[in-house]
Amino acid sequence: MGTCFSFGNKILQKEAARLNKVKKVALIGTGTMGIGIAIDLLNKTGYEIICIDISDQALDRAKNEIGNYFTGMYQGGRIMEDQLAAYMGRLSYTKDFEALANAEIIWEVATERIDVKEIIFRNIEKYVDQSKLIFVFSNTSSHTTEELAILFSDSYLRDKFLTGHGYFPFHANRLFDVMKGKYASEESFVAAVAFAEQILEKKVIALRNDHHGYVADPIFEGMGAIISWDIKTGQDLVELPQVFALLTANPFEVLDRTGHMPYTECARHMGKALPADDRLRVVYNQNDRHYPQWIEDLEKSGKIGINSKDKEGFFKWTGPANREKATLVYNPETKSYVEINEINYQDYWSLSEAAALDHRASSIKSIEGLIKISEADDKGGKTFRRYVLPIMLYTLDLIQDNHCTVADVNTSSKVGLRFKYGLCEIIDGFLNHFGIDGLIALIKKAGCENPDRSELFDVDGKIGPRSGKPNLLYTMKKKGWKNLLGYGRIYGTPVSQLNINTGDMELYYCDLRYVHPTKKDRVASIIFDNPLRGNVWNRNTLDQLDHAIGVSMELYEKGQLGALFFTASGTGMRMLGADARQFNKGWFDAKIGYQFLGEEDASWFTKAGMKLFRFIQEMPIWTVGVFGEKWGGGAEFTYFLNQRFDVILKGVEFDSLTRTNVFKVKKNYNQPEIEYAILGGFGAVQELVRLGFGESLIDELFMQGLTAERAYALGLSNGIGENEFELLERAFEIARLKQKYAVPYSMALYNQQKKNAFYEGCNDDRLTQETGETFNPEKNPYITTGLLRLLNMGGQNAPLDLTPRGVLPGWKNNYLQLYKD
């Protein structure tokens, strides 16, 4: 959103006010990550950015790359010339740490070496103005907050120091870790999380306790490290990591893209610093080394991936920039690059079988396919058990040791490491198939198969780093917990997570943020925040929204909620339509050819969405939405809300008359279905009629879209404004005022009467028919909560009565039936 809004959270309110006033940010270190962060900050904020580096070379490179990026944007017609100048004007480069004195946020993005960091931290301590400073971030992959915080001798700076870690490429990867550790204060933590979540628009894994490398990094590093010792020939580099390519990608290909240095530095640090009970400790400490000799050879000879001079790393890459393909592979035996051979089907038949099972053929397999592979006796099954099972056990360790929650692991693996299914979903799949005992047996079998690494497969807590700590699976068995995650009703995607401390299922929405109502405000907020595909309607979003509405109804029944506040995170608060990849695309099957999406599959999405939206429309909770740009289904969704508020957006658009790019007010409501020849999905036309639109206005909306101002003039929008923060505040205040009228049934009654009156005119007989009682207030809820009651009270509002009184007569689409199967 670019600004920070508190959504009724009182602690955040104060910090948000400070964050919204930030003017200067200092970036220390202008390497690859530093450049990415600078670009992202320039794009998303209006901050002045001071880039500090000790080397002229690094500063020059940053100047070039950032300049190229924005020039490219200008040449591509995405920004205007004066904007380009404004972007560049907000940047300054210096070698002088004195510039820190003006910074409100300091972000250290230097190399992983602690001695370098120590010098930087001493400089921060020397020059910083504490009264201005909000927090200090360190972008480290393997150090803990505690290891770094103690480099400050000033307690105030320790209070404000957190590690904040983004993933490469920073502007594209939406995962972001914030780690508090024991020194940082609660205020700094809240501010840092809000900064990352709302201003940087990231998916934040907020860890209270220190863990080396957060959650995603140790899993990724582990994936590489666990295989690295077994690589003997070049073909091993192709074949063995296949099992990880089934989940996400070959880690060595990824390392070639990011450069080897982060991996080797982290392996070295983790080998030394990982706590004694870390399962993967052994893979960083083998043969008196932290990573194998051959990786060191590669690094020393400058073969560090795609960005090296000859485009050589674990693989040799050829092809045009950004579209390189691996053509040769490094052979550690001969220290040369060799041909990539075809993989022998006889050795890896289980992978092909899994591919056949998984009819949407791709290199990434469904959980069903993975289960098939894990049981197989070929090389595929063996490598899966040898490499993937320890990573799964490691995941369980992280949860068991309170380093992170189930949701943290799942989101980290999905968003940061691009797993198709989160690690916890995969574990759940295995638990569903094998049962807990079956999975333990599978792990023990793997332990017997791999006697050289038996400590990696320890579940009983008998050997290796995990001795004395029987695996979480045993706790689950003892307590009768079947799964780590809870799944949605419509598509069965994850919506809740197990809290292993309490045994309760808690909310876990990867694509939404749900902010619970406070006792005073009674307004809950739902923020669309899809970390992977923009804010689209896909299976996950539908499941999660459905669950969130169910949760809201429960709170409403308890009298804790009266209004729902919807908005979307991201630049321009954009809400998109249905995910075309999921719902409009077929798949290719080698045997029967291209398969179109069946009518059944396609319409199920529309039906499920419509049912949910209708429910939102008719539920007794007041709904207010604040959005910017809305496309297709995103716009349709808002027609079902009680009130819509629109941000006036400006940007570069192509003018089809003058055939030029112009900077102008953008359209907020866009329904391009007809142009794209997609059938309307969620019933926009009907809803627009209900909202009082005639045929000509509907045509206008579908053919050319509406700007916020036009929508406001037509009565579609309830309020517009240019300043996002002010509009959010205004709309939230309206939700806060409206919530008190959402006394059980009164809003439903009002909606019902309004609808009846609209279609049939006033009909007194209907009341009698539906209730059987016209004048008995005890039996007729229309009377107790309606106008008669108000008159009886002498024209004053009835006091809040939050006890539900059974089912409202005549209310067909009752949530009790819809939400309690």
Partner: protein, 423 residues
């Protein structure tokens, strides 16, 4: 003072930083805080538990916290600290009791120790550990139903009540603690403006002090304030690691305008507002006390001598006046003049109350509560007496001064005061 009389010395004193309600110590029960404070006091004293016998452990705590283990407090703390310090038969087996004198509990634990050490006969003690602790964040909702006659497990229906807030009512005299301050403040001619300005001063003093607060990472001599505080390095109930180094209640963005706009608690014209009252807080403090002769004989260095203590009563409806008679009586008891005292610490239960006391006693402001008081730092009720004594001792030492008096008003119409002298 009679030379034959035994003298009591404070060998060491330590206190936790004070947490705000719902803040740092929200998940850390009072007992855990006490364990940390007692352990620190013993470590600071440098005594060897294998050689120096601990005769008694005296605990102070008022409100039952979420653990409901207050009745076992002194023994629990003794055993837990003994385990931490590998002690088998000294502290682990030391007898202990819990004492209570509302806001004066922190003084009472010192007074009890004073009495034990100066006593003659078989009950004479040489070394006593006194501590006081409170976690007001964790005070419970209580159900006031009584047991039924027919079953011991059955309770009558009754409303639940806020145990903490119930304590702020003194029902017999139909008064509230803030009301006593309002009445007393008006009696002594204190205005709302005075209260706001004093509250502002308290925060400002605390902010300045925190900027120069001692911390174990800095060698610099400028950072030598509040050496009584130790950094709490621990893990809370939720498994989160915690490092607390400063009093949480100090408001860095305090401003006079905001303070003057706050609504008075007891209607228009009242003196007590949320900004001019002490805060609801959590924290603990502990001290090791010894017979002076015993300490000298065993070559144990000490910080200060406790010259004496005094508890006096006042009208419960203006309980805030307590320090006035307590300080006067104490000076009389010790044959001293007010001018002999170098520094005062008077607990700031309410700004109106403090200002009334200041006016009646004629306390010089530059010598009183020099590092801010409970309005800024917080009033962790039971521990306050010991907290201000600890801070007073270290501040006297820092300034190279000699005599100080710590005092507090006590709900129910009492005042407590204690006099320390640096040696």
């Amino acid at each position: 003072m009679n030379n034959n009389k035994k003298e009591v010395v404070i060998v060491s004193a330590a206190r936790t930083p004070i947490g705000k309600h719902g803040g740092y110590y929200n998940n850390l029960p009072a007992e855990d805080l006490a364990v940390l404070a007692v352990k620190e006091a013993i470590l600071r004293s440098g005594i060897d538990l294998a050689k120096t016998k601990i005769d008694q452990v005296i605990a102070g705590m008022i409100y039952i916290d979420s653990q409901n283990q207050q009745i076992y407090l002194p023994r629990n703390v003794a055993v837990r600290v003994a385990d931490l310090l590998n002690d088998k038969d000294n502290l682990k087996t030391a007898p202990g009791n819990t004492t209570l004198r509302i806001c004066g509990t922190g003084f009472q634990v010192l007074a009890d120790a004073f009495d034990h050490i100066t006593a003659d006969g078989p009950n004479k003690a040489n070394c006593i550990i006194s501590f006081a602790t409170e976690n007001m964040s964790q005070t419970n909702l209580i159900h006031q139903g009584r047991r039924k006659r027919d079953s011991v497990w059955d309770f009558e229906d009754a409303p639940t009540k806020d145990y903490l807030m119930e304590g702020f009512n003194h029902n017999l005299f139909k008064t509230l603690m803030p009301k006593t301050a309002d009445v007393y403040g008006k009696q002594t001619g204190i205005t709302r403006k005075d209260c706001d300005e004093f509250s502002y001063l308290s925060h400002k003093r605390a902010i300045e002090t925190q900027k120069n607060q001692w911390n174990r990472f800095k060698d610099s001599n400028d950072h030598n304030y509040l050496m009584g505080i130790f950094t709490v390095d621990t893990v809370d109930k939720a498994g989160n690691t915690l490092c607390v180094w400063r009093d949480e209640g100090v408001k860095y963005d305090v401003n006079l305008e905001e303070l003057s706009n706050l609504r008075p608690l007891l209607g228009k014209g009242g003196l007590v507002t949320p900004g001019t009252a002490s805060q609801i807080s959590d924290g603990a403090a502990a001290a090791v006390l010894m017979d002076k002769d015993f300490a000298d004989k065993n070559n144990i260095p000490y910080l200060a001598i406790i010259k004496g203590y005094q508890f006096s009563t006042v009208d419960p409806e203006i309980m805030g006046q307590g320090p006035v008679p307590a300080v006067r009586d104490l000076l009389k008891q010790l044959n001293m003049q007010q001018s002999d005292v170098d520094l005062f610490e008077v607990n700031e239960a309410f700004a109106a109350q403090y200002l009334g006391v200041e006016k009646e006693l004629g306390l010089p402001r530059e010598k009183t509560n020099v590092n801010g008081g409970a309005i800024a730092m917080g009033h962790n009720i039971a521990a306050t007496g010991l907290r201000i004594t600890t801070d007073l001792v270290y501040e006297l030492k820092r300034r190279g001064l000699k005599t100080g008096i710590a005092s507090a008003c006590i709900g129910g119409g009492q005042g407590g005061a204690i006099c320390v002298e640096i040696v």
